[in-house]
Symmetry: C2
Subunit: 219 residues, 2 copies
DNA sequence: ACAAGTCCGTTGTATTTACAACAGAAAGAA
DNA sequence: TTCTTTCTGTTGTAAATACAACGGACTTGT
């Protein structure tokens, strides 16, 4: 666990909390470390959850496969990001999506009850963590709304423009690398891969953008 | 303001807080009442926000119109529900969507800073509100994920099935009324109204469901 | 009651997308 | 290297969707 404290320190959840304080907080929040090999499932649709999870190493996808084998990728989780926060309220039911490791990954589980129930005065940074968690969920919420913005576009081209310009804005550069290959991007935007590939090339030919593999440049 | 306390008491945000306590909390949270006539905008895309808002009377839609006039309805807000919570973190930028009153509506603004900064011991229910807000946002998050589930379906029929069966589950009955007319439902699911109308009738002819106006019955 | 406006279903056509299949490029393994 | 496997772009066809347009049912306001 100790080797990941420096990473936890840089996460949203522990912003403003120092190394030594984090070490004190960890047992107070019932922190548990778990490792997953590439391809393993961190969460499965239908499970119940009472923890918030932070990725400290590796890379995860939030996805769902339907009865006909169509895969939807709802999002991607990078090191330092939090997930599972939508399923920890008393009323929330089962987990709606799978979370799968794209590479060997390490996560830390935190008991939500412990987080929201401010404990003894021993850990005075507890309140900071609660506030951080609030901000983190709020931010997540915003991301979901943004994704809904992409998804609500009617055509493949519009979805691509919506997503790519969003990424450009986020990375503050017209050149950026996306965390998806073509199939994954198609699953993320809920479109057909070949149709999307087609559209991307058309847009390139029209001079709207350039790309090499996962690196895109908007014009 | 007083006439809405009984409504606030029944909201998620104030669950477990009594009438008299709410009255004490209101000034402590910088509560401000605002009324909007049918058709007026409560929030506009691009605005900045530092409040959480609760609807205490009326009915609202969260929506966005693009350059070409296509409207997307991201969600609908009923009395007692909270919104705006995604835009109140230090880093969150402008509001991404419009919020418009479908009928004459009344909302209450709460200063977020006041909420998350636990105040003097005078209002001992403050901590409860913080926890409630956490649950409420978490719940909202879940709703967004569910909507993404509908949106990620490829065909109009699948989107309809996804949405309608979700509603049936939520209302715990195979008969239920939806808060949208046809055009609004189409905007909500990001499909063409006539194509959707067509599909609905096909499904009815196949015996999958029945409907009169906004009342649906699944078979 | 009447007029104006809205809502809903229906139809035909043009456009777009999904699906299947394939070939070349790139990446990995033996 | 050579052999696989994966990834990407391309094409043709079938299917689904968007768009425009219209008539009837229902509302609303005068």
């Amino acid at each position: 666990m100790k080797k990941y404290i420096s990473i936890l320190k840089r996460t949203r959840l522990f912003a403003g909390v120092g190394d030594s304080e984090i070490e004190l907080l960890l047992p107070c929040l019932s922190a548990r470390l778990c490792t997953y090999k590439k391809g393993e499932y961190v969460l499965r649709q239908g499970e119940h959850l009472s923890d918030i999870i932070v990725l400290v190493d590796g890379n995860l996808h939030i996805q769902k496969d339907d009865y006909w084998g169509n895969r939807s990728i709802l999002g991607q989780i990078s090191v330092g990001e939090m997930f599972g926060e939508a399923y920890v309220t008393p009323e929330s039911g089962a987990v709606l999506n799978d979370v799968v490791a794209l590479e060997d990954s390490v996560v830390v589980y935190f008991d939500v009850k412990k987080i929201i129930t401010t404990c003894s005065s021993a850990c005075r940074f507890h309140a900071t963590v609660v506030q951080n968690m609030f901000f983190a969920i709020s931010e997540k919420n915003r991301k979901l709304v943004q994704k809904l913005g992409h998804m609500s576009k009617r055509s493949t081209r519009e979805k691509l423009i919506s997503y790519l310009s969003e990424e450009a804005k986020r990375k503050k550069s017209s050149s950026f690398t996306i965390p998806f290959n073509r199939q994954q991007l198609a699953d993320f935007l809920s479109v057909d891969r070949s149709a999307m590939s087609n559209e991307l090339c058309k847009m390139r030919d029209e001079g709207l953008l350039e790309f090499q593999k996962n690196k895109f440049t908007l014009r």
